[in-house]
């Protein structure tokens, strides 16, 4: 009885080590943002998170994040998702020589969800912009090895 319990517990722990949560949660995203801001609450504004509302394919969604005001005041821009397996996407570090506080990249989206872009300013303030996106699936995918 005891041995079986132990085995079951061991198997459970092994599963945890291998598997990731199927998706992050809004709480995890909030926690990750909190880590980025060192506890400060970002205010909505100044940040523009430019992404299509309807995504052709979740493997590559082009995004552009820009921040209003003088570029030399923007220290960093971070992107978070609510429902990807992992909530952090990227943190971009700018410099006083950036000239324009704007970054573009392509990101993966596991499913339709909410995304957040958070900017860290040189005066210690944080600003954010949240967007909701719908992700479509591609039709006719590989059914067998290529």
């Amino acid at each position: 009885m005891k041995r079986r319990d132990l085995l079951a517990a061991g198997a459970g722990m092994a599963m945890l080590a291998l598997a990731r949560p199927a998706s992050a949660t809004p709480a995890e995203m909030a926690a990750a943002i909190n880590t980025f801001t060192g506890g400060a609450k970002p205010q909505p504004g100044k940040v523009k998170f430019d992404i299509a509302q309807l995504i052709d394919n979740g493997n590559a969604a082009p995004v552009t994040v820009s921040v209003d005001g003088a570029a030399e005041n923007v220290r960093a821009i971070a992107i978070f998702t609510e429902r990807n397996p992992q909530t952090e996407v990227a943190v971009f570090t700018l410099s006083p020589r950036s000239g324009k506080a704007e970054v573009s990249t392509r990101i993966r989206l596991a499913t339709s969800q909410r995304l957040m872009a958070v900017a860290r300013m040189s005066d210690g303030s944080y600003w954010s912009h949240g967007v909701d996106v719908i992700v479509a699936l591609a039709a006719c995918i590989e059914g067998e090895a290529p």
Binding site: I55, A139, C140, G143
Partner: protein, 251 residues
């Protein structure tokens, strides 16, 4: 003579009347369109750059590069991809561009052919086909190529697979409508090889055709199969006059 003239006019009329053909690019989101349009953003450019490097690299026991015989691809390869699939006189077979590149490697460079759908072959194919970008698809008029296209056309209208669907049913009759959240395009093939977001990489037209066949739960021919080349030949005829877009980006 009068009947022939009338016939010609009719055909001309049908072609002119309303060219409803629209590239697959028109069915994608503006963001994906921008990815294809902007060479600085287009992921396929990584493959064309590799292809360009291969073009200038010596290969095989010939110690020749493509450039040794063909010089600058921008000149020598201009319009070439727009004329494929085509008949290869040497083997008497209708071949696609990738197969033709391999024929050159074997015969002229004495180099081992690249594996079909390999990164090297896709890169070279994309680089060569890019030299026809913007040019009209111009399928050859010889009997062998036209015969291959005729067989391909039969396949296009043939129901296949457990879902018992033909290409025509989705792509001629239902284009513009939705399939699993995606808009059904018209199945024009002039952007291949293409960076497909779903593959997270580059692929040939044959790879995409195999995806479709797999999608309707049909048996999937192996890469390089004659029936796939014939289908490619038909698609080139069907695309006649449309602009080459290689290297394309598709969802």
């Amino acid at each position: 003579m009068k009947r022939l003239l009338l016939g010609c006019l009719l055909i001309a009329g049908v072609v002119q009347a309303a060219d409803e053909r629209r590239s697959g690019a028109e069915f994608m989101s503006p963001a994906t369109q921008a990815m294809q349009r902007d060479d600085a953003q287009n992921p396929a450019m990584l493959w064309t750059a590799a292809g360009e490097a291969q073009w200038n690299a010596v290969a095989g026991s010939s110690a020749k590069s493509c450039a040794s015989c063909h010089g600058d691809a921008r000149t020598s390869m201009r319009g070439v991809a727009a004329r494929y699939p085509a008949l290869d006189a040497g083997s008497g077979q209708v071949v696609n561009l990738g197969q033709r590149i391999n024929i050159c490697r074997e015969r002229k460079q004495q180099a081992a052919p690249w594996k079909l759908e390999s990164e090297e072959l896709l890169g070279m194919e994309a680089y060569v086909a890019m030299q026809s970008r913007g040019m009209p698809v111009t399928p050859p008029q010889d009997a062998a190529t036209q015969a291959a296209a005729a067989r391909g056309k039969q396949q296009y209208f043939q129901r296949i697979g457990q879902l018992n669907l033909s290409c025509a049913q989705c792509h001629d009759q239902q284009w513009g409508k939705r399939l699993a959240g995606s808009t059904i395009p018209q199945a024009h093939a002039s952007a291949y090889p293409t960076y497909r977001l779903e593959w997270q990489g580059m692929g040939s037209l044959q790879r995409r055709l195999r995806n479709c066949m797999s999608g309707v739960r049909a048996e999937v021919p192996h890469f390089g199969a004659k029936e796939l080349v014939e289908l490619e030949a038909w698609l080139a005829l069907r695309d006649q006059g449309m602009k080459m877009e290689t290297p394309g980006v598709r969802p």
